[in-house]
Symmetry: none
Subunit: 198 residues, 4 copies
DNA sequence: TATGAATGAGTCTTCATTCAT
DNA sequence: TATGAATGAAGACTCATTCAT
């Protein structure tokens, strides 16, 4: 039933999803829906939760070989990109619902704050170590760089902007470290930039 | 009537706005609505259009004293911030509708592309002049930096994240130029960083 | 519409009345119902109110020739009986709804209290004048006699107990005055007691 | 199960009682309900029947010391009051259901008739003995006095009218005998009339 | 005998849209 | 051009009842 709901949300979006469709997708009578959920809002929340859980569950051993900050950033961005891509259809709906549902918006603000706080601390550390520019406000820098990654990937995967993930993520990560003043790696070997459609 | 529609959209959002409310706000019978518009979608489009026109209309003479790239970037970002802020309520709705209305989404993608193309050309120019790092892909850089500005301001003004616009915009613009390798200005004089709520 | 609602309530009772039926009875689409009323509860209240208003409106000049307490009581009881009878079908529904709707129950308790208070005062007056037995508690007497009249007429008109209203009301009123000790009139001339069905 | 049903009816009333709740209250699956009963109506009837049986079962030896009609009436009324009070919650529901369920209404009409008939005979006897006024119609008198007792106790116990049962029942019984002309006992010794809430 | 998942009839309610005046 | 009563499609939700296990 949860799986059916997810399929319908992915297919029709939140607003156009009807209880009847979800039930039908699960080969159930619509009354059955109410045995498991109270409303469309609730089932959506559960679908989202379940999706998050799966995401965390599959997160592999973190024993990465990343040595430099750039490598770690690139790796993080790529992981985010991949996770987002695997749930692209659902994420699209999620972004939409978050624009008009206060509960969900609040929830996302909290998640965002967590990410920003963590990044802010890292920036302070780098500044203390003389790795990052001391002229940048760590909080605003963390917030804006977070937005950059977040939105860039949204534009690629939800708005469907043409892109080659390798080049795109490399550039994105370079911008990230350069903006802070962290060391940038050697240029990537020249390659034919072939953008990839979604 | 158009003004009434705008007020209602700003107050209630798109989904919760009812034709009846718009008519009432305009002191009209709701039947009259259909003399002027065909549907809620259409009137929303017109409200948006009108808003854009006003935005362009008020854009003052561009005789700016900006000399350096940083100054120009900062000025542009500030102008964008101010314009966005003046129409915050409507922009919030606009972002929401764009997540589920294809026409609107398409339209925004086009606007975005224009901005990215312009920035991309500027980056190429800077690279040619030896001002910007040659190792960055101009297209992806333009796209990601655009997303950064765009989303940061959305987070501040729509999601309501605490911020001091002076510090925030300064940091945002610094990140922008630093990411490309453009010259960064001297550090801002120390100031009490007092974040401003929206 | 109100008239249609009344007909449907009278015909089907409150629980079995459907919005659709009311609308159909008024030759309207069911959506139209909501232009005038918010819910079944509300329309019922309005039907009841309207009925009460009509009742008060038709109350004729009170210039009665009643001289003795008995005559006044008899006249009052008869008037109540007639009014109740004219709205019998609606009253039946009203009694039913009052058993499960708190608003309505409260309202009826208030009306009852008003009646009891008035009667209680009359009894005190009669006691002071030496007309009524001094051994009776005026409050409880008023309450119980009120219940007697009330319920007796309900039993006749709603439960449909066979009765001849002339004999019945005469007896009822005799019991009323006798219970208090007020003077009773001469016996009614012998008549064939033919009970009347409702 | 029957006990559970009774508790649920008392708590929620008939209309708001759900089969599921009854089953849950009995720690049973709701499917099991249908092993024992066919419908909500039926289980309610059984609850009522059971309640009646208990009432009769507990009726103690009638060896009362009542000598005068007044004493017998008072004793009867008090017994009725007490029985009604012990089952107040259920009686409240019973009165409600009787307003819209024909079977139940019919049943109650029958019970009422039995009571009225018995009283009617008693009145005739008293009239023959010269104890009661010959000017009263025995049938209507019995009916109305029955209604008086019935309704008064309902008003006290179900509608929750403040009352002191001693004073109230004394007054009620006095009215009863006075209305018929039966001898009334000496006045009760003066007492503080303290009304008792239900 | 007990279970509880599944059913689906039955109603309410909203609101964009039409149209006679 | 303005009105607002009327429309009816669309969907949510409840809960008594069935039935395979």
């Amino acid at each position: 039933m949860l799986a059916a709901a997810r399929r319908v949300f992915e297919r029709d979006g939140f607003l156009d999803a009807r209880i009847t469709d979800i039930s039908a997708e699960a080969n159930m009578a619509h009354g059955t829906f109410y045995k498991y959920f109270d409303s469309k809002e609730q089932v959506f929340m559960e679908v989202i939760e379940r999706s998050q859980e799966e995401l965390f569950a599959e997160r592999p051993s973190r024993q990465s070989a990343a040595e430099t900050p750039f490598e770690r950033i690139l790796e993080t961005n790529r992981a985010y990109y991949e996770a987002y891509r695997r749930n692209r259809a659902l994420n699209k709906v999620l972004e939409a619902v978050a624009t008009f549902d206060d509960t969900l918006r609040q929830q996302r603000v909290v998640i965002r704050r967590r990410y920003v706080d963590r990044t802010e601390k890292a920036i302070r550390r780098w500044q203390a170590e003389g790795l990052a520019s001391p002229h940048l406000d760590p909080h605003y820098a963390a917030s804006s760089l977070g937005s950059m990654v977040d939105r860039t990937i949204y534009v690629w995967l939800v708005l469907g902007e043409d892109h080659d993930p390798d080049v795109g993520l490399d550039t994105l990560s370079r911008l990230w470290v350069r903006a802070l003043g962290l060391p940038e790696p050697d240029p990537v070997p020249p390659r034919r930039k072939r953008r990839r459609s979604t």
